[in-house]
Symmetry: C2
Subunit: 149 residues, 2 copies
Amino acid sequence: MTIDLSKMRQKFREREYKLTPQRQMILQVFMDNRGKHLSAEDVHNIVRQQSNDIGLATVYRTLELLSELEILQKMDFGDGRSRYELNENSTPHHHHHLICITCGKVIEFEDDLLEDLENVIAKNSNFTIIDHQVKFYGHCQECREKREG
Amino acid sequence: MTIDLSKMRQKFREREYKLTPQRQMILQVFMDNRGKHLSAEDVHNIVRQQSNDIGLATVYRTLELLSELEILQKMDFGDGRSRYELNENSTPHHHHHLICITCGKVIEFEDDLLEDLENVIAKNSNFTIIDHQVKFYGHCQECREKREG
DNA sequence: GTATGTGCAAATTGTTTGCATCGCG
DNA sequence: CGCGATGCAAACAATTTGCACATAC
């Protein structure tokens, strides 16, 4: 189900994009960092740590490309930079985020209830829904305990 | 229920912020533009049209302040700039957005179904949810008709 | 009167772009 | 081989910051 190099190779051939080492390297970064929400700079730094430098512009261009191919999913947590993660089980995602207001931690959760909601909304608003992004803001257990402590 | 100048005056006194003409003017812009999602630049332009110039930096600082006071709500539609609107009935909002991928139009919708979802999630994830922000991406009726046309 | 707020311009930050060069298919 | 991809540096756009001056309380 999950994307790997051969899947990516296939997607690239279909669309006649070149599979350069830089692009492979960036995919690898995401495969090595499942569950994290990496910014362009994060990716750039990780690659450099492996002493395999890539131009930052190339990182940006690749992230954009991989998002278009639906290999990555672009997301925004309101911290002023775009973040990306592997788009595990293509669409729809059923995968949302709890953002702790206190410590900024981002927790994932899976859910299907939103599907029903989508249907209701689609009917009421005459809007064809393709994707959704949900963020819940609140306090995580840890911060709550600290505060109440 | 809705915020007006006297409410704002009160909130400002509580926190010992000064109620300057610039700050009042910016609140007025939002009261005159209910339902719109204004960026800092939008606000700046509207004020200038009324031949009452305010420094752009002040606009930014005021938007930040008003968000902190929960008079405004900061939101992000992925167009590279923050947008703000009056935070009508304090928390929780029950007020979400449908974003058309084709034309970029933002449609509002009210909903309560998410409350149930919040409760389930809170229980499952041990997370105290204070607010949520939901964006649905898809095609609005108009664009759909054009495409099928 | 004094701490806070404002305006301006300069600095920062994230991201994009132009162009010469490189290398995948 | 040729065209798309890369790297660099310069350009951009949104936002932030330093500082002298102004003003609400």
